[in-house]
Amino acid sequence: MPSPGSDIGLKAVAKTYMTRSGDAVHAVNRVDLDIARGEFVSLLGPSGCGKTTILRMIAGLEPPTSGEIVMRGEAVWQKGRRSAVATRDMAMMFQEARLLPWFNIEENIALPLRLRGEDEKSRLEKARSLCSTVGLSGFERARPSNLSGGMRQRAALARALGTEPQALLLDEPFGALDAMTRDQMNIELQRVCLARGVTVALVTHSIAEAVFLSDRIVALAPRPSRVVDIYTVPFERPRPVELQRSAAFQQLVGRIRDDILRAAA
């Protein structure tokens, strides 16, 4: 059993794919992990290390081949089916914003509320207030195609926050943004997460991003995919952008980089 106070627990979780030619690919090899309530944990590693697969298994999008995933005491996968109870309080953000073009911004943000049967007036009210939370005031009625990449991800963040989730699962949500917008979004993300006390699992391949945002970093190596090490990030919150230029920050980034490279070599 995961320790008390833990939000998300993974026990000996593994995932094996079968290729068409019949070879077995071990996407994830026996991962054990506990994420505490309100903790921000990053899964860090190069492509092909299975980090996205881990996140998708937690989110209930892909069943693990073996092992157990628990969300607040409830198994996410029960007899190969995702448990609606366990995944109810999770929200996921993807690499693309995935806003539906046939809805405007507030309708997109209100979508998960609509799916939970909330009436139109109350869900749109909430969507509007979320718009201002993520700095999208004035764009409530805009079409997604008229927004920049960064603004779209803001809307996606607002949508994820709408159901007041206890856990946020983020799959490289800012990976497609340019360096500057990415910095801004990370500051924003940190602010929102701190204010709401939400548990976060973030998948990223940027060491600096992981160090900047996380309480703990799980570094993964590919082929065969495995956990290299788990780092605790000591910096005080809220962290300013300038932190990234400090020697301590750079040192930690360098140390993690060296470890991953050594593990991959």
Binding site: P46, G48, M180, Q244, R245, Q250, G254, R257, D258, L261
Partner: protein
């Protein structure tokens, strides 16, 4: 900086001699609709160097190299290559989207040899020159494959070879790795650095990744928002060939931090 100097091919690049500018840009102006992208812009690009162009989104990084390479007409201004115009020199261009830049109906070999065909080089010599380039670069690739049979990185490699086969005096690269995944990007950076060291060709690289820009460059050209100015022209002194160790090198980290600072200052200004 000495070790970064190309040893072959260009007789004028003697390590001791002061660098002559290769490309001189004077009074460049460009307007899109109502937005002034460039206004009376001046720049010298040193010979035999790799220049990274970096700046906030929409500052006109790609526009700059597209104007130098003649893909976009300039509104006003002069761009000269050792005093010559673009039509008088040989140059290469590598597009961001390799999928749409290579010809899928041609094998990799014919793709690489295509610019020679345009220069009316006879077939036998085309073959010889292409083979010589491939051998020289030491790249292991089955050139009888069609582009769609290759990985993204291999396709971009073919695209770069196609640009190099004419032995260009200058090579332009517009975010050449941004459509590749992260690991492939790392691999391709090494490949590009190798090509640069071996060919000594002047290269102008547009990048949106600061680490990449600094890692590959002799000078980082930092642009401000429009109308674009040169915010800084930072020299990167790390020795070549650069490796992973370079990334944690204290000088390198300092240079990168400096570039980031300039960049953030420019962003805030806007």
């Amino acid at each position: 900086m000495n070790s970064a100097q190309p040893a072959v091919r260009l007789p004028s690049t003697d390590a001791a001699a002061p660098k002559r500018p290769h490309v001189t840009i004077r009074g460049l102006s460009k307007t899109f609709g109502k937005t002034v992208i460039y206004d009376n812009f001046d720049l010298d690009i040193p010979r035999g160097e790799l220049i990274s162009v970096f700046g906030p989104n929409g500052c006109g990084k790609s526009t700059l190299i597209n104007m130098i390479a003649g893909l976009i007409p300039v509104d006003a201004g002069k761009i000269l290559f050792d005093g010559m115009t673009l039509s008088e020199i040989k140059f290469g261009y590598v597009f961001q989207n390799y999928r749409e830049a290579l010809f899928p109906w041609m094998r990799a070999f014919d793709n690489i040899a295509y610019p020679l065909k345009m220069m009316k080089v006879p077939p036998a010599e085309r073959k010889a020159r292409t083979e010589r380039l491939v051998a020289h670069l030491g790249i292991k690739l089955d050139l009888n494959m069609y582009p769609y049979q290759m990985s993204g990185g291999q396709q971009q490699l073919v695209s770069i070879m196609r640009a190099l086969v004419v032995e260009p005096e200058i090579l332009f690269l517009d975010e050449p790795f941004s459509a590749l995944d992260y690991e492939m990007t790392l691999f391709m950076r090494e490949q590009l650095q190798k090509l640069f060291i071996e060919s000594g060709t002047t290269m102008v690289l547009v990048s949106h990744d600061l680490e990449e820009a600094v890692y590959l460059a002799d000078h980082v050209l930092l642009l401000s928002r429009h109308p674009a100015r040169v915010a800084d022209f930072t020299e990167v002194t790390a020795a070549r060939p650069r490796t992973d160790a370079t990334l944690s090198d204290i000088d390198f980290v300092r240079t990168k931090a400096h570039c980031l600072e300039v960049f953030q200052r420019e962003v805030r200004r806007a």
